[in-house]
C-alpha cells in the first residue's frame, strides 16, 4: 500500500543529519554547556563577585567602549570604501578589493605585533604622532586601532553586494522626480543599504568584543587602564582561578548569543528589504 511517511527521493538524510548533529554536539554544544555547568556550581555570590570586581568592570568598559567606537568608525569608512569599490574605477582596484579581506586571512597575532611596531614611539606612525602628544601603543587608543583593523571587512563585505545589486533605475527615477544627488543618496540609496550597514556594524562590534590576539600586543595590558575582558579570562586561568575565568566567560557568552540573535534579525531584515537571500 502507501509508502511510509519518511519517504524521500534523495538518499542520505538520516546519515548526514545524524552526523551533523553528533559532530555539532561533540565539538560545540557539549563543551559550551560545560561552561554553564561549571558556572552553576559556583554559587551566585561567588559568581557576582567574580564578574563585578573593579578590574573586571574596567575591562568591560574598555572592551565595549572601544568595540563600539571601532564599529562606528568602520561603519563610516567601510561604507565609503564599499562605495568607492562599487561605483568608481581606479588603478589598483582589484588589489584593494582583494586586500580588504586581509584581516580575515592574517593571523591576529601577526596583526597585533605589526600594529604595535607601527604605533610604538619609534614606529612609522607613532613617530608622527609623538610630537602631537598622542600616544597610541600601550594605551586604550591602541586597543581601538586594533579593533578598527579587524572589523573593517565586515562592513565592506556586507554592504558591497547590496550596492552592486542596486539597479541604476532607482537613482534615475529619483533624479527624474527632481531629487538632487545628495537627496537621491539620502532617501533612495541609503535606506536600501541601511539594514546591511547595520548588519556589518553588528558583526564588526561582535567580533571586536571577543577579539584577543591583535589587541593584547598593542594594549600594554595595564590593569584598570588597558586590559580587555578576554585577557581577564586568561589572567584568571594563569592564576588557576578556573571558577573566576568561567564566570567571566559566561558573561561573554551571553553577550555573544544576544549579538548573534541581533545579527540574525538584521540579516532577515536585509533579505526582506532587498529581496535577496542572505
Amino acid at each position: 500500500m502507501a509508502a511510509s511517511r519518511t519517504f524521500r527521493v534523495l538518499p542520505g538524510f538520516g546519515l548526514s543529519l545524524g552526523y551533523t548533529l553528533a559532530w555539532l554536539s561533540l565539538i560545540v554544544l557539549i563543551p559550551l554547556v560545560a561552561v554553564f555547568v561549571k558556572a552553576g556550581s559556583l554559587g551566585l555570590d561567588h559568581f557576582l563577585a567574580a564578574v563585578s570586581s573593579p578590574r573586571v568592570i574596567a575591562s568591560y568598559k574598555l572592551t565595549f567602549g572601544a568595540s563600539l567606537i571601532a564599529a562606528l568608525i568602520n561603519t563610516f569608512f567601510g561604507l565609503m570604501l564599499a562605495w568607492a569599490l562599487v561605483r568608481y574605477s581606479f588603478p589598483g582596484k582589484r588589489l584593494v578589493d582583494a586586500l580588504v579581506d586581509l584581516p580575515f586571512a592574517l593571523p591576529t597575532a601577526v596583526a597585533g605585533i605589526a600594529l604595535t611596531a607601527l604605533y610604538a614611539k619609534n614606529g612609522w606612525v607613532g613617530k608622527l604622532l609623538e610630537p602631537l602628544g598622542i600616544q597610541v601603543a600601550f594605551t586604550p587608543l591602541g586597543v581601538l586601532v586594533a579593533l578598527v583593523f579587524i572589523g573593517l571587512p565586515f562592513v565592506v563585505r556586507t554592504v558591497q553586494p547590496i550596492l552592486e545589486d542596486l539597479d541604476t533605475e532607482y537613482e534615475e527615477a529619483a533624479v527624474s522626480l527632481g531629487a538632487n544627488r545628495w537627496q537621491a543618496f539620502r532617501y533612495v540609496v541609503f535606506p536600501t543599504v541601511l539594514p546591511a550597514l547595520m548588519t556589518g556594524f553588528a558583526m564588526a562590534f561582535a567580533r571586536a568584543v571577543g577579539e584577543y590576539g591583535s589587541v593584547i600586543f598593542i594594549a600594554g595590558n595595564i590593569p584598570m587602564v588597558s586590559e580587555i575582558t578576554p585577557l581577564m579570562i586568561i589572567t584568571k586561568l594563569e592564576q588557576y582561578d578556573y571558577a573566576g575565568a568561567t564566570a567571566i566567560a559566561v558573561v561573554m557568552l551571553l553577550i555573544s548569543f544576544v549579538l548573534l540573535l541581533v545579527i540574525n534579525g538584521l540579516q532577515a531584515w536585509t533579505a526582506k528589504r532587498t529581496g535577496r537571500e542572505r
Partner: protein, 369 residues
C-alpha cells in the same frame, strides 16, 4: 505501458493537494493534466513518477503496484519544468548521463552510448549542439535536450511537467506541434501537466481537468470542450458568458428578463448558473422584442473575420460583462453601434443548479471574459 492511479490522497500540512484521485492512462496515449495552479496536477505527476509519495492510494504501472518501487527503478522519463539540465555538463554528457549511471553489467559501451546519444539528438533535431553547455542554448533547445535525456534511458512512460511553461509564445506553439509529432512517432505513454487550455486541447489525445485536488472531467479535447461536465470546466475551457438565473416554471429568468424557455430539470425557484459561449449568443435589436437579457454595447472589435462585441448588462444583470462573437457582415447588417441597447438571446445554453456549483464559483472568479 498503462498507468493507473487509485484513490490517491496527498496532504501538505493542512493543505489537501489531492483528494481521492483515481485515473486510468491507457497505453500509448498522450494525456494532458489540465487545471489552474494549485489544483494538484503537478503533485499527481510527481507521485506517478515516484518523486513524491501519496498519503494513501496506489500507483499501478502495467497493472503492478509500484507504490513501493523507488523512482530509480520505475523506468519513467521525467522532464522538469525548468529542465534541470546539469549545468556543468555538455549536452552530450547530459543525454548520456542515464546510460553511464547503470551498473557495469548493464552499461552500454562508450561507442554504443555515443551512437544512442547521436540518434536521440537527431530525433530532437539538435545533433549540432552536442558539445555546447546548457547555458549556451535557448529555452526551446533546452526543453528538447531535456526530452532527449529523458528518452535515453528508454522509459516506459514519459512525464512532462509544464513542458512549455517557461517559453515565449512563438516557441511554445512550434514545440507543441513538434511534441505531438514526436509522440506519434514513438507512441510512448505520456502525461503532461499544463495550465494552458489551448495547449491541452491542441496536443493531447485525452484531457484530464483538475480543480482543488479533484478530477472534474476526463475526455477527448472535443468532448470536454463541447460538453463540459461542470461549471468549472465550462469556465476554464474557452471564453464563456455566465448568467445568474432563477427557474420560474419552465423558464429561466435573469432579474425580470426572460433568458430561456424550455424544459428545465430544476424545481421552481431554484437558483441556477447558465452558460453560453460567445458564438452561442444572438444579438436582437428589435425594440419590440421582450425575451432575452437586456444589455448595452460598450465596444465593437471588428478587426478579425469575426467581430467581438463587448456588452454591459442592464436591468437584472447590471454590472456584468458579456461577450458575443458574430461575423462582420452580421454587424453591418444589424447596424450595431457602441452605446446601443440590445437584447441577448442564447441559441445554446448549459444550466447548472447553483448549490452544486458553489465551490466552482470561488475558484474561477473571472469566468466571464
Amino acid at each position: 505501458m498503462s498507468i493507473q492511479v487509485k484513490n490517491i490522497r496527498k496532504e501538505f500540512g493542512s493543505f489537501t493537494a489531492l483528494k481521492d484521485v483515481s485515473l486510468d492512462f491507457p497505453t500509448g496515449e498522450l494525456v494532458a493534466l489540465l487545471g489552474p495552479s494549485g489544483c494538484g496536477k503537478t503533485t499527481l505527476l510527481r507521485i506517478i513518477a515516484g518523486l513524491e509519495s501519496a498519503d494513501s492510494g496506489q500507483v499501478l504501472l502495467d497493472g503492478a503496484d509500484a507504490s513501493d518501487t523507488h523512482v530509480r527503478e520505475r523506468q519513467v522519463g521525467f522532464v522538469f519544468q525548468h529542465y534541470a539540465l546539469f549545468r556543468h555538463m555538455s549536452v552530450f554528457d547530459n543525454v548520456a548521463f542515464g546510460m553511464r549511471m547503470k551498473p557495469r553489467r548493464e552499461r552500454p559501451s562508450e561507442s554504443a552510448i555515443k551512437a544512442k546519444v547521436t540518434e536521440l539528438l537527431k530525433l530532437v533535431q539538435l545533433d549540432w549542439v552536442a558539445d555546447r553547455f546548457p547555458s549556451q542554448l535557448s529555452g526551446g533547445q533546452r526543453q528538447r535536450i531535456a526530452l532527449a535525456r529523458a528518452l535515453a534511458v528508454e522509459p516506459r512512460v514519459l512525464l512532462l511537467d509544464e513542458p512549455f511553461g517557461a517559453l515565449d509564445a512563438k516557441v511554445r506553439k512550434e514545440l507543441r506541434r513538434w511534441l505531438r509529432r514526436l509522440h506519434d512517432e514513438l507512441h510512448i505513454t505520456s502525461i503532461f501537466v499544463t495550465h494552458d487550455q489551448e495547449e491541452a486541447l491542441e496536443v493531447a489525445d485525452r484531457v484530464v481537468l483538475m480543480d482543488h485536488g479533484k478530477v472534474e472531467q476526463v475526455g477527448t479535447p472535443e468532448e470536454v470542450y463541447r460538453h463540459p461536465a461542470s461549471p468549472f470546466v465550462y469556465g476554464f475551457l474557452g471564453s464563456v458568458n455566465l448568467f445568474h438565473g432563477r427557474v420560474e416554471g419552465d423558464a429561466v429568468h435573469v432579474g425580470d428578463d426572460l433568458l430561456f424557455r424550455d424544459k428545465v430539470a430544476f424545481g421552481n425557484g431554484a437558483e441556477v448558473f447558465a452558460f453560453a459561449r460567445p458564438h452561442e449568443l444572438n444579438i436582437v435589436i428589435d425594440p419590440q422584442e421582450t425575451s432575452g437579457v437586456a444589455a448595452k454595447i460598450s465596444r465593437i472589435l471588428a478587426f478579425g473575420v469575426t467581430a467581438r462585441i463587448e456588452l454591459d448588462g442592464l436591468n437584472g444583470s447590471t454590472g456584468q460583462l458579456f461577450e458575443v462573437e458574430i461575423t462582420r457582415d452580421e454587424v453591418a447588417r444589424l447596424g450595431l453601434e457602441e452605446g446601443q441597447a440590445v437584447r441577448l438571446l442564447p441559441s445554446r445554453l448549459r444550466v447548472f443548479e447553483r448549490e452544486k456549483a458553489a465551490i466552482a464559483e470561488g475558484s474561477a472568479p473571472n469566468w466571464v471574459i
